[in-house]
Symmetry: C2
Subunit: 256 residues, 2 copies
């Protein structure tokens, strides 16, 4: 397929590379950021453009991979240029309806992963959630997704938003717990390396099992002596203390 990629951030970069590796032709990268557009276009052996008016009007699919709050604005730039081809966005939290009126063929192509610019990733293992405004559109998108990933799942906008919320707990909030752990260690001049193997193992343990079966620690054992000792030590840090108490209560409650 001939694809125009709109955006040059982490999702655009990884998705563009996966599409190219999958045999598709990225005919153009459009982005408001000249530097990023050129970097990505170079990676994908294609041309970059900054001018909305010079967006290629003959592609099969237009993929909008930009922040949620500018998806609609970018889609409206496309609207007068294209000839009713397929337009999709890649967001977990924007509804399909955000593309309404842009084309008669609109859809969503949401890779359920966190991307960093430097780190390569195997797209085959990334689940992709697809949605389309017709069974034809959905069929095209799911076929495109199946070429990139072993796990493609069709879902509506509400399901996708809820999946995105679950992803925020499993990824964004988890990273914030790592951040708190790092701060606690830094206060004692201890290295974060001490926790890195534990962090990997905690993630690996739920790859085959459900987290309910994998819970360990003083809270699930209801070891009150250890919990009290920790709360005592955290007295100087009320914000961390509150979180410790909250999680311990939640974990104890999860047994009932």
């Amino acid at each position: 397929m001939n694809i125009v990629l709109l955006g040059s951030g982490n999702v655009a970069t990884h998705l563009g590379r996966a599409l190219k590796d999958g045999g598709h032709h990225i005919v153009q990268v459009w982005s408001r950021s000249e530097a990023n557009a050129k970097i990505l276009a170079d990676k994908l052996d294609t041309e970059a453009t900054l001018q909305p008016s010079s967006i290629n009007p003959h592609a099969d699919v237009y993929i909008i991979a930009v922040k949620d709050d500018v998806i609609r604005a970018v889609a409206e730039l496309l609207s007068p240029i294209i000839h009713d081809q397929l337009v999709v966005h890649t967001s977990g939290s924007s509804d399909l309806t955000i593309l309404e009126g842009i084309s008669s063929k609109i859809g969503v192509f949401y890779p359920i992963q966190t991307f960093s610019k430097e780190k390569k990733i195997d797209f085959k293992k990334i689940p992709i959630a697809t949605e389309g405004n017709s069974s034809d559109t959905l069929g095209i998108l799911s076929a495109l997704a199946s070429g990139l990933s072993e796990k493609v799942i069709e879902m509506n906008s509400t399901q996708r938003t809820i999946l995105h919320i679950a992803a925020i707990f499993a990824c964004n909030f988890t990273n914030h717990l790592y951040y708190i752990a790092d701060k606690i260690l830094q206060d004692q001049h201890l290295d974060f390396d001490l926790l890195r193997p534990l962090i990997m193992e905690t993630a690996e343990k739920v790859q085959k099992k459900h987290p309910a079966e994998m819970q360990t620690g003083p809270a699930i054992r209801e070891d009150q002596a250890v919990l009290d000792k920790h709360l005592e030590l955290l007295k100087g840090n009320p914000s961390v203390l509150m979180l410790y108490q909250n999680f311990s209560q939640r974990i104890i409650h999860s047994k009932k």
Copy 2:
């Protein structure tokens, strides 16, 4: 070294195996649980005992790998039997002083990892925190630890407890976030498999960098429209809603 292992849970199992693989001789496994003691003794090609009175009095080291609330009781069983050999426990949250009076050589040998019975693990990558009541004791323990792991760090009881608290955030509380994510998906009849690659990647991303550099999601972007939409959708689940708000605030605050 000739070692008696007291306990037959996950720590005793993994540590016993690593010590045996490291060329040490596990002369005996003692446990209150007959079945578990036999299973572990078989794995370690050694004998099991249930009777405190039949604990081998001639070992070089006695390693107590039991729950925090019974460490002292097990140590007191040892006390009349041994001849002042080295006695250590493996707990992150118990002080060295819990072994006071048991022997003149006491210490701590704390592997910073979460163990599951079925899952094998590379002990070389597990940091081990050691403590001893004298430089001689500490020297012996750190040498023993260095034979098993590439990363051995000597620290006192307070530092170890704080390290353990950090580990609880990075492991136990993280697993509880996975649990909440799983529940959110289950309510929508969505499979936890959708999040497994994301969970692995989130852990992998902090293996080289610090979590402060790796934070993603609507909170760090202060994308209020997405945050509001998620809070609206979580209205039916006040406990999860509160946690979502709390974490989002914390993440926004972490930027300042």
